[in-house]
Symmetry: C2
């Protein structure tokens, strides 16, 4: 074991990949995260929509490395980096001396300068976000059931999703399924089939990262599910009463924000250049300018490859960057030449729409419908961590398939005063 | 369908039994609960101790009655009862006219007049209580791992459970198992095997509702698991720093309250007599004095049977009372004579200690150890609602049995300022 100390900040896809790929490299590793769990974000929308339980898509980070005595896991919140002293500072006053630092701290949702929208239009990045959205979704139906005012009832039964990327499309499809298929038999005073689900997108099509014909298919499936898809229309205001799309106000008590991403403050810690989304601009070897011992990867890094294309902010890219960083560290320790610059290899894109359709875009091969849905499901179960979660998620999906009943329909946590209105 | 309207308040064991047993009785039923879910409280301690996920032991109430169009489920908080007008008032201003009212609103924990202890010594009655205790439990280990002060570390690794009834015994056993068996390999700076678990009981033995020889056995198993059992010693103070037992102060940052029960305010709504624990004193037919159309059952009722013995505050008693009330309502509707007074039939008591021992007390038959554990497990899976939960819980238990890994070790929700100290 060398004395080299690698500090990794962030236990997301990128950070874990660094730690995984440094197995046996003979370095001491400290992994710091604000949360005690790694979260499988691609399925977070299923927690928000009552399909999966929180523990099915999240794992205690320290358990993942219980058999790696050289890995120390710390629950901690980073307050800054002293790049001269090579020290990471945590909010509780602890400092960690590093030889190599990897910042993989991810991103959160952005409101394009309208942060006042956040309380009424929560985004979906953490387990708490998911249970918040789930609670608001379920409470809207509950309140509609007891409401005597038809206008209030309509506003309660109108759900608006802002942003038609994969998260927005997946949320809209599942909420429509829930309202139109799962819930109708359970309410006596309202007809949940009258629920309106509105998907608003400023751009010209849904799922813009897919091929146009797949976007068109996804839009048709959404519309068949009863989703009102509004393209080319920016949201101009969000409030507790509703949403303004262009000049039109729509009474909608539940708004979910699935547009815009803001990087974590890693760039600020390094006092280096950042792009418009706050991501740290790093070199082609993923190190910060002038700081060869500091790597920045994943959603918090802005990387332009040698061929001039940017690396997308998705899980496979973060994992590839994590592997690359581990390779660079190993080469340096061994005194070998640095590997060639990082190159992102796109393996394909997948998205689901509702409970039985999906699209798969492998470049030359494009699939849609039921087959794509099976590929999507198998791929996601494959990428989950551990036998237990794979079984649990497969069982939850099978159960919904057989019974039509969602299993995680719990309203928990207390609402703030604002929500009680 | 007659016009008779039965309003049931509370979707616990008692309330659901009334609704279940009124199937086909030709009455209109409204079931009101503050929560949207029925909770299987006997396994709540397993959510608090990272074994089960919340959705495995809770079910949306309205789903249970989706095929009973005469049953309306309302999410609502009762503010009072106008017994003269036969009207139930909800906090949102709604009123419900009833012909028959069943109050099955349960109980919460009581601090014997020391309510200021609640923030530092949370009890275990709701899903939020369980996730709060789980968070504190897991955070204590996390903070001990980063703490540099040996005294603070010891206080963080000392857990105190107040009250040695079934919940207290079950919590103490599982926490000891978690600290001494599951966690040791995951921490680098602390040895979780040095964790102290203290079970304090003012009375002379653990599990006082069981036969003395079973109490003695349970105590021995607890002590073998490393639990420090302190009998005949009342807790005289609880604070953020620790607990005072008699005159001795013990530094303990995590305290769980498993002693004392306080009934819901049902007795206050009826302005009738209440016992020391706030339970409404009702007649031998479970109706409130002078109000033959108002029944009170379960943990919020105080019933002395014809043979002079009180009905215990446990789930089987609440279910039997629910069945009895449904029988009385049916008899009245049919113009038949009232059934004979309610009589509680004790079917036995079960409790687990840690992950492989249990005790079963069927009166003449008393069992302990592995066989009792299997009976306990099968009985609890049997009483869960629905195939899905039975499979999910059985799978979670099997997984822990095979892998030794708890699955629900997530720290969620934000801590209040007080806890961050």
């Amino acid at each position: 074991m060398s004395d080299h100390h690698v500090v990794v900040v962030g236990g997301g896809f990128g950070g874990l990949q660094v730690v995984n790929d440094l197995k046996g490299a003979g370095v001491r590793i400290t992994l710091v995260d604000r949360r005690n769990h790694h979260l499988f974000q691609p399925l977070l929308y299923q927690v928000a929509t009552t399909i999966l339980a929180t523990s099915e898509i999240a794992w205690p980070i320290r358990r993942l490395y219980s058999d790696r005595p050289e890995v120390t896991t710390l629950l901690g919140d980073v307050s800054g980096v002293d790049t001269a002293a090579k020290e990471l500072a945590l909010r509780d006053g602890t400092t960690l001396r590093y030889d190599t630092l990897v910042l993989a701290t991810g991103a959160t949702h952005a409101y394009f300068g309208r942060d006042e929208w956040e309380p009424v239009a929560p985004g979906l990045k953490t387990l708490e976000d998911a249970t918040t959205i789930r609670r608001r979704l379920l409470l809207a139906f509950e309140r509609a059931e007891t409401s005597k005012d038809p206008a209030a009832r309509d506003a309660l039964l109108t759900f608006t999703i802002v942003g038609a990327g994969p998260t927005g499309v997946e949320l809209a499809g599942i909420i429509a399924d829930l309202a139109h298929k799962t819930l109708p038999r359970e309410f006596r005073n309202i007809d949940t089939r009258t629920t309106k689900v509105i998907l608003v997108e400023a751009g010209p099509r849904v799922l813009p990262s897919f091929a146009p014909e797949l976007s068109a298919y996804a839009q048709k499936v959404l519309e068949d599910l009863g989703v009102d898809v509004r393209l080319g229309q920016p949201v101009t205001n969000c409030s507790a009463e509703g949403v303004k799309i262009g000049e039109q106000f729509i009474a909608s008590r539940t708004i979910v924000w699935a547009a815009g991403v803001q990087a974590s403050p890693a760039a600020t810690w390094l006092a280096g250049a950042a792009d418009r989304a706050g991501r740290a601009v790093v070199g082609k070897d993923l190190t910060a300018p002038g700081l060869p011992e500091v790597f920045v990867i994943g959603d918090t890094a802005s990387v332009v490859q040698e061929n001039g294309t940017p690396v997308p902010g998705i899980a496979p890219a973060a994992k590839q960057q994590g592997s690359y960083v581990a390779k660079v560290i190993r080469a340096r320790l061994a005194g070998r030449a640095a590997p060639s610059p990082f190159r992102y290899r796109h393996q394909g894109s997948l998205a689901t729409i509702g409970q039985s359709a999906a699209i798969v875009d492998f470049g030359r091969i494009k699939l849609k419908g039921g087959i794509a849905w099976w590929i999507w499901g198998i791929a996601h179960i494959y990428f989950l961590i551990g036998t237990r979660s794979r079984f649990a998620v497969a069982w939850s999906w099978l159960w919904i398939y057989l019974s039509g009943q969602h299993s995680a329909r719990l309203i928990t946590q207390k609402e703030t005063m604002r929500d009680e209105s």
